[in-house]
Symmetry: C2
Subunit: 234 residues, 2 copies
DNA sequence: AAATATTTAATAGTATTACTATCATTCATA
DNA sequence: TATGAATGATAGTAATACTATTAAATATTT
């Protein structure tokens, strides 16, 4: 039996749905390859068109500009990751075990995945660590936010925040801790590989250590909460 | 008495030292204003030249490209911030008090500063939250790192890591916790103002709450360390 | 099957960006 | 008075980010 995962994307992100045509799927597939290879700055629709054997105008029929295309790709990743997390944690009763699993999934660079035909999740993981923040670090965040471009990201963070709350219902920063965790999983990985002195994982390039760090600070926050709470409250 | 703070910048960042000429200082001053106003994407040397009444070529004589200029500005900020932290914490003996002060400085958007004439630190703070990450999120991180472009940022993180270690000499993730803290201070602020559902601070736009969160997770990590350490060690 | 409409592709063109090069001018210094 | 550094003015190029126009293919209607 062959299962194909299909993620329903925000319609505002594209002019024509790339999932629906062969050319559209090629645009996604090759974008991922090219952005991964040379980064967003060097990526242009002209190069993309050439790589897939169509014209610039052909690409513009699907996406208004390369930023939208990036948002599409990154959003797809967040949706896929949330799906992955739900699959791997659904049958776990203990919220702490679930949170640990989530941290492990967040912190482990994707190795391989057979869920989808035309999307390489391994490359996507790296694109998200390098370019992910650029999706919201623009002057049109608010507009994009109103168009619900960040919903997949927010959904993921909200899910993580939910599990955090299950672990400790009196914890007061579940959402901030969740977004911190999701960001850190990618950022510490980036630092470890590129600016290692900003981390304690050296050049080992071993995500294992990083995951221990993430677990450490998340669970420390959660358990400290109960004790320190009274102190901080006016 | 009038004091002027002068920060020694990495010479590789510029072609001609902007501190040394009137035009150079104008380039810095107006860059900050323009990048703050419309963001890095919309910022061009042509617009900058027009704003200060010179020509494009005039700007190019100082900076190779706008990315270098951004690195210059952001690095200046990190150096200035480290200086500010050192001034405000030098006389504090208790490392925990010092760390709290650091968190407070990191988390409070700069209001006003008279240290420098031609640099508006208030605008800089916002530029760093919006564009700061783009400084290292490029394909040439490693090259830039070898040119020591990130030294000011690393120095700041190292200083914070040092204080963290003073608070708890057996804590094993001082550097990762430091870079997490520095990043979060800006990021949670950005989220609070632009994607508030990712935080627990609502639209209050009150950094006070955020600072409490930062303090909470830093000190939770530090105090949990001693207890949990034995558990995690093989 | 012919006529018409609709979709899709290919070509060309424009405005802006990110530079580089050249040469003339100002202005201080030796 | 000669020298040289800093600036200014002008022009030019290659690439980028798009738009508009036209041509070809496909589907629909009569």
């Amino acid at each position: 039996m062959e299962l194909t995962l299909k993620i329903r994307m925000n319609e505002k992100l594209f002019l024509r749905n790339p999932e629906e045509t062969e050319l559209g799927r090629e645009i996604i597939r090759q974008s991922i390859i090219l952005i991964h290879k040379s980064g967003l700055e060097a990526f242009t629709f002209k190069k993309l068109a050439k790589a897939i054997g169509t014209t610039e105008a052909g690409v513009y029929r699907y996406f208004e500009n390369k930023h939208r295309l990036l948002v599409y790709i990154v959003s797809w990743y967040w949706s896929w990751l949330e799906y992955k997390i739900s699959v791997h944690t659904n049958n776990m009763k203990d919220p702490e075990v679930r949170l640990k699993k989530i941290i492990q999934i967040l912190g482990t660079p994707v190795k391989d995945d057979v869920d989808t035909k035309h999307v390489d999740e391994r490359l996507l993981y790296e694109i998200v660590t390098w370019e992910g923040a650029k999706v919201y670090l623009t002057r049109h965040v608010s507009t994009d936010n109103k168009l619900r471009f960040f919903k997949p990201y927010k959904d993921l963070c909200a899910r993580v925040a939910g599990v955090i709350l299950e672990c400790n219902p009196s914890y007061r920063y579940s959402r901030s801790l969740a977004s911190t965790l999701v960001e850190m999983a990618h950022q510490q990985n980036f630092f470890m590989r590129n600016l290692p002195s900003l981390t304690d994982f050296g050049n080992s390039k071993d995500e294992g250590k990083m995951i221990v760090f993430l677990e450490h600070f998340v669970f420390a926050s959660l358990s400290a909460s109960e004790k320190k709470q009274s102190k901080k409250t006016p």
